[in-house]
């Protein structure tokens, strides 16, 4: 019996057509979808290694309905999000996210000034650049995107981009394009041997090579892998798919705060009694941080408050 082949949404046509009202509404109602997108965004923020207790200005590329951006809010940062689908942005507005929303095509270049952002994330979006649209072919679109991403990031800032490459060729195309734009960094593959949980994150550093930069440790215990890193950026990125197959060194991040959370605690917070992201949950997290002698933002501004449209 032939198995049913599911076409990837990327092959069905342009993103602004695929992400219509019906698709956008799934991001309102599907708790499974919400959970998957949120946890990937949380992982991405962790790997951004932002300075502690400093409110930053961040960019969310392909922000959609704002699920990924909300993770940035919860960490106390302000964000701007751009997306090619007006319907997705409409739902983001309806959900009253705090981020500023911009309708734009990342494949024609991000519409921001040099050095505007302290970091950038992108969740499940950049694989769309591997397909041509009216604005150009994949190579050109990827190049415009990475070149502009490099420009809009402050020197020394990171970008963490989670994406779904369809094959080794796309993986190679994407990583090579990032390298050509001047980025250091590499690929982190969480749970590389699980078909379901396997996730690709491109961890990029804008600016001159930084001796303090090390690749984050991949999740998935012994079988996880990180490729590239430190200032040997070129080899890290250039290797692309080929390198990803080889088990390469997995280094610790060095910055304690971002030490990998045990999977146990991750699961607990998700399924435990306290609703994740509730005021109580945040208070608990802060309490834990204080116990570790860290300074924590006081509880007024960002503590799980009901969001209003006016606040940023």
């Amino acid at each position: 019996m032939a198995t049913k082949v599911r076409t990837r949404p990327e092959e069905s046509g342009p993103a602004d057509i695929f992400y219509n009202e019906t698709e956008a509404n799934k991001y309102l109602h599907s708790s499974r979808m919400i959970e998957v997108q949120t946890s990937m965004a949380e992982r991405a923020v962790e790997m951004l290694c932002l300075p502690e207790d400093t409110p930053c200005l961040l960019l969310d590329v392909g922000c959609g309905t704002g699920l990924s951006g909300e993770v940035l809010e919860e960490e106390g940062h302000a964000w701007m999000g751009c997306d090619i689908s007006r319907d997705m942005l409409g739902v983001a507005q309806q959900r009253e996210v705090e981020g500023e929303l911009i309708h734009s095509d990342m494949g024609t270049g991000l519409p921001f000034r040099q050095g505007a952002f302290d970091g950038a994330i992108s969740i499940s979006a950049i694989q769309w650049l591997c397909y041509s649209n009216d604005e150009g072919n994949p190579r050109l679109r990827l190049h415009r995107f990475f070149q502009s991403l490099y420009r809009v990031l402050r020197r020394g800032a990171r970008a963490v981009l989670q994406f779904y490459p369809q094959n080794a060729e796309q993986l190679q195309l994407i990583t090579a394009s990032a390298m050509r734009a001047g980025f250091g960094g590499g690929l982190v593959i969480d749970f590389p041997h699980s078909t379901k949980a396997k996730k690709y994150f491109l961890v990029l550093l804008a600016g001159p090579p930084d001796a303090g930069f090390s690749m984050p440790t991949a999740l998935g215990e012994s079988d996880a892998m990180s490729v590239g890193g430190a200032s040997s950026a070129a080899s890290g990125l250039g290797g692309g798919a080929a390198d990803a197959g080889a088990s390469s060194s997995v280094r610790n991040d060095g910055r304690k705060r971002h030490a990998r959370r045990a999977m146990g605690s991750r699961e607990k917070s998700r399924h435990g009694k306290i609703a994740k992201k509730s005021r109580e949950w945040i208070a608990l997290k802060k309490e834990a941080a204080r116990r570790h002698g860290k300074e924590v933002t006081h509880d007024s501004k960002y503590s799980g408050r009901k969001r209003s449209k006016v606040s940023f």
């Binding site: 200005l57 500023e100 309708h103 734009s104 024609t108 270049g109 991000l110 940023f312």
Partner: protein
């Protein structure tokens, strides 16, 4: 669209497409919680001259000085005025106009379209 966003936005794919002129059709003043630390952090990023000229073009009076004060980080009066300018003025309908190409980008329901 807040003026902080406007201060960061530029016409995509241009070298000198900044600052974008605002042709405003509808704007409103909202209330946003003041965060002094965040506002002070934005000072390094801002194009202050562009902000002042934008405020003038919108005929909005904010009491901001002609230049950023030297000790701005501890200057609550300045930071509050800046916060108001950056976070509490919302452009809801209108156009952004690229100074390089004259291309017009519509703003609808508060979202600028930079396509």
């Amino acid at each position: 669209m807040k003026l902080l966003t406007h201060n960061m936005l530029m016409s995509p794919g241009t070298k000198n497409g900044y600052p974008l002129a605002i042709e405003v059709e509808k704007m409103e003043t909202v209330e946003a919680e003041f965060n002094g630390e965040f506002t002070a952090r934005m000072v390094e990023k801002l194009d202050y001259a562009a902000l002042l000229s934008t405020l003038r073009s919108l005929s909005v009076e904010t009491g901001l000085p002609a230049a950023v004060p030297a000790e701005y980080a501890g200057d609550e009066v300045f930071l509050k005025a800046l916060h108001h300018a950056l976070m509490e003025i919302e452009i809801l309908e209108g156009y952004l106009v690229c100074p390089e190409t004259q291309k017009k980008f519509p703003i609808r329901e508060g979202i600028p379209s930079m396509l």
